[in-house]
Every structure is written in C-alpha cells, then in structure tokens.
C-alpha cells in the first residue's frame, strides 16, 4: 500500500533531522531495516549530551556526594545538586527543596503513599484513583488502603477514553483524603483536565498526587500553575537515564511528613533511641543517591529546554493526528482513546484478527518497535474489553514519514494473516 498522505512529511515545527543526529541509537538497523522507534511511552532514547554527561561524571568527577571535603566530592555534589536545580527550574518549582530525587516515578508515588499516607490516612477515609492509571499509581494506593482500612474509589473512563468527571463529583466527600490521577494516560494518550480535578479535590479538603510520567516529557509542567500537592515523574521517559525519578511536593507538606526510607544522608543527628531528620530534600533521600543518573537527567532537561516543550508538543500532535488518519484509512483497525486534540502522542489500537503480540513481532521484522500487551494498566485494559492492545507512541525525534513505514508494515502484516 502506498501512502495517501496529505500532510507533508518534511515540514514540522521541529528540525527533526537535526534532532535525530543527536541520538546515536536512532542510526541502528534492526532486522535489516532502519529502526523506527515508536515505544516512547515506555522509555525514550538518549541524546549524546546525556550519555556524555554520565560518561564525564564517571571519567572525571566520580566521588560520593555531600560528604567529602576534597575536590572530587565537591565537584560531584555540585553537579548532582546542580541537576536538581535544573529540574526545579524546568517544572517551575518555588525551591529546589521541593524536588526529591527517587529511583523512578513508582518510588516517588510509593514515598507519598507510605510517608504521607501512613500519617494522614486511616480507617473510613477514602482514596480516589482512576480506571486509567498505570499500575504505579494504583497498586501503592491499594496497598495503603489495605494497610489502613481506607476505601479505594475509582473515577471511571468514558467511551471516548476520558475521565468521567460527573462520577468524580459524586465520589468526592469530606472523607476523601487524596486524589491520585494521571496527567496523561500511557495507554490512551488522554490528557486529563488536571486543573479541574485538582480544584475539586481541594474544595473538599483532599490532597492531590499527579502522575506526570507521560505529561512532563511531552508537554512539560508548571507545578505552581497546576496546583497539585505532589507531582511524580521519571527521568528515562524524558531523554534521561533509568534509575532517576522525581517527586515534587508542596514544601509545607514535605516538611510535615515523616521520612520514607531510613539510612545515611537523610539524618541530622543519630542517637541510640532516636534520630532527627535532615533538611529537605535530603530527608527523603536515604543512602547514596543515583548521582550519575541525576546528572544525566539534568543534561536531559537542558536538552528539552533548548528544543522547547511547546514545539515538542506541537510536533507530537501533528504526528499523532496523521497516525490516526492513516490508521483509520487502513480499515480493520480499532483505535482506543480520545480524539487527537485531547491526547498526547500515544495511539493504542488493535488489528482485527491479529493478536497484538503477533503484530508487534511482525512489525519488528520491519524494524518498527511498538509495544504490545497490557501496558501496566490491567484495570483499563479490562475496561476496554480486550486482553491486550498494540501501542505506538511518539517523541520529538520521530519523523512523520515513520508513520508511513509503520502503517505500511501493519498492512503487510494484515496480508500475511489474510485479514
């Protein structure tokens, strides 16, 4: 099948070719075909600047942070804490003290569920999550409910893949202690009306945790404008390395909270019977942190800032619209999620008569990397009434003509299966 593209494959708000030159991995050939990497919702590729920052740290500055008085340790501390300040500026936090480095978004959410939840949620209280959460923003709350005797409530998903705010209104009550929801679904791509959800939660006195794992890499965030109490995201989905995530929290809340993990670096004074805690953010960073990874995330933030989050979002929106258009034209495709203007660069779909795993295997034979399965969101997949879906997800370095390669490979797979 040949493309009937009406959208130019070269014009973009971004200079994609120039961006691609910064990502060595995108030069790879897979199974004899140039790689088409469409699994960005799972993890992103890394630019040379990030790889070099990590390399440079280990080659030139490696030492433990916050301890040594010698030159190397000072350099390592400056680089690691410098990365924290970069992240704080990137999300417009009032202070670097509100930026806690964790291992990933999952750990950031668990930190809140344990430390804040343990102190503030009890029997008879309610926790509201949504039916479109990644397991990372679902299971920690389920565990908290089990530990405390609190009740978990769910905001359902509408047939167009959006949160049902009418039901949300009926779930909110003075018993609601926290509302935890995603800013952008990793399956449907839905960009949720976060400010509205947050305002309504605050109106009943509840706290809010926003899972911004998909939102921050693709749209950015201004935590002061957003108004959530906690925001969690991860480095590896935003051009940074694995092993580094971020919890941002309102300072007053973080000050009140007991620590999460105990150990070195998070303490001020330690005695046999008791200890006192370090200042923010280190109170929540027990043990030697992911130093190189933090520095790598700082470099990723520099890169994204230089490109511009508005441009990245506009580019992904154009690619996604085109992908939806071409998939619709192909026929035999079920698309999940909201219309293009309500979603980020994620397209979940099924091809009638082909299991998504088989589809992903066949696309891989053409060098096209897509995800197949439940996307760590079993409640949502159940809601869609399927056992699995395929998913393509885009980022700043994807060319519009990669959509053509992807859809043509889908078409070829349909021929093989005779559907």
């Amino acid at each position: 099948m040949t493309s009937t593209a009406t959208i130019s494959t070269t014009s973009s708000v971004l200079d994609v070719e120039r961006i691609r030159a910064d990502f060595p991995l995108l030069q790879r050939v897979v199974n004899g075909y140039p790689l088409v990497y469409l699994d960005n919702a799972a993890t992103s590729q890394k630019p040379t600047a990030v790889i070099r920052a990590i390399d440079d740290y280990y080659q030139m500055h490696n030492a433990n942070v916050h301890r040594g008085v010698y030159t190397l340790s000072e350099e390592a501390t400056e680089a690691y804490e410098g990365a924290r300040r970069k992240v704080a500026r990137f999300i417009n936090a009032r202070s670097y003290r509100e930026v806690i480095f964790t291992r990933n978004a999952t750990e950031a959410i668990n930190l809140v569920a344990y430390a804040w939840g343990g102190a503030n949620v009890g029997k008879g209280d309610e926790i509201i999550v949504t039916d479109m959460e990644h397991h990372s923003n679902f299971v920690p709350w389920q565990l908290l409910a089990q530990r405390t005797g609190a009740t978990l409530r769910f905001i359902p998903v509408t047939p167009t893949g959006q949160l049902d705010l009418a039901v949300y209104n009926t779930l909110l009550s003075p018993r609601t202690r926290i509302v935890a929801f995603t800013g952008m679904s990793n399956v449907l791509g839905t960009i949720t009306p976060a400010s509205e959800i947050i305002e309504r939660a605050h109106a009943v006195g509840a706290r809010v945790l926003l899972d911004a794992s998909q939102l921050v890499p693709h749209k950015g965030i201004d935590v002061q404008v957003m108004g959530a109490d906690f925001v969690a995201f991860t480095g590896h989905k935003m051009l940074g390395p694995t092993g580094i995530g971020v919890l941002w929290g309102q300072r007053a809340l973080l000050e009140e909270m007991p620590p999460f993990l105990g150990g070195g670096d998070m303490i001020k004074e330690v005695y046999h019977a008791t200890s006192t805690w370090n200042e923010l953010p280190w109170k929540f960073e027990a043990g030697t942190p992911s130093i190189a990874e933090g520095i790598g995330l700082g470099a990723a933030v520099d890169y994204l800032t230089a490109v511009g989050m508005d441009k990245i979002h506009a580019h992904e929106r154009a690619i996604t619209s085109y992908a939806l258009e071409r998939l619709n034209a192909l026929g035999g495709i079920t698309l999940y999620g909201p219309p293009a203007d309500r979603r980020g660069g994620v397209v979940a779909f099924n091809v009638e008569g082909i299991h998504p795993h088989d589809l992903a295997s066949m696309l891989d034979q053409r060098g096209v990397a897509v995800r197949a399965g439940q996307h760590c969101a079993q409640p949502l997949i159940d809601h869609l009434g399927v056992t699995a879906t395929a998913r393509a997800s885009f980022y700043l370095y994807n060319r519009i003509d990669e959509v053509d390669t992807f859809v043509d490979a889908l078409d070829a797979a349909k021929q093989v299966f005779g559907v």
Binding site: P356, Q365, V416
Partner: protein, 131 residues
C-alpha cells in the same frame, strides 16, 4: 516479515485443533495465565487407564501460543500420562518448526506449562525449568 508466521502456524492458530470444552468425564483441567500479555489458556484432558484419550483447550492468545497448544493437543492424544510428562520444550519447538525469539518463548511454552502442571498436578512446574 513472516519467518515466524509460516503457513502451518497460521493454519493452527486460525483453525485450532481440539478447540473447545471437553464433555465429562474430564480427568485433568488446568488454567494458565501469562500476565505480561494477558494470554489465558485452559486445557482439559480425559485419561482412561494410563492413556490420554481426549484433549480440548480454550482461551485466548497470540498465534504462537494458540498454534503451540493446537499442535501439542494433537500430539498428546493416545500418549500415556508418563509419555506426556516426558514432553519437553525441545519437542514443542520441533513441532512449531520456526525460530522463536527469547521474548516469544513464553508464548510458545504457555501450552506446555498448562499441560505439565495439569499432569503433574503441581503449579510450580514451570518455575523449576530453565525456560
């Protein structure tokens, strides 16, 4: 593109043999689930004396898991329970006759896992094997 999806694989996955539910008496029934992809498989066997006389399976999964179960079900009928216990990963891969990447091995082996767990009557079978 179709190294894995040869004609016999597509044939077995699109027209699986022994698909359905076994009428009573059912001697062994076993369900297995692959949480990574959501594939779910139930295998039912009738054993008369020492011999497997009938097999049915149902559930949903990818072409590889369905074709593997279809082929395995054909191979099992007429074998003794001890012979079924001897069926190995290599036997199943020989039946499939296609290159299976490490990632897809779980798909292919879901059927064998169900069968083995059924005939041994223990859920831990697969964990002991080097998959």
């Amino acid at each position: 593109m179709d190294a894995m999806y040869r004609e016999h694989i597509l044939d077995h996955s699109q027209n699986p043999r022994n698909y359905g539910t076994l009428d009573e008496p059912v001697t062994i029934r076993r369900e297995e689930y692959n949480p990574l992809c959501g594939d779910r498989l139930t295998v039912e066997m009738r054993v008369e004396g020492d011999t497997v006389t009938a097999v049915r399976f149902h559930g949903h999964g990818c072409a590889i898991s369905q074709a593997a179960m279809s082929m395995l079900s054909e191979a099992m009928v007429g074998k003794t329970v001890d012979e079924v216990k001897q069926l190995s990963k290599e036997d199943l891969l020989d039946m499939l006759g296609i290159p299976i990447s490490p990632v897809r091995l779980k798909c292919a082996l879901l059927s064998l896992k169900a069968v083995k767990a059924g005939v041994y009557g223990v859920p831990e079978w697969a964990e002991d094997e080097d998959e």
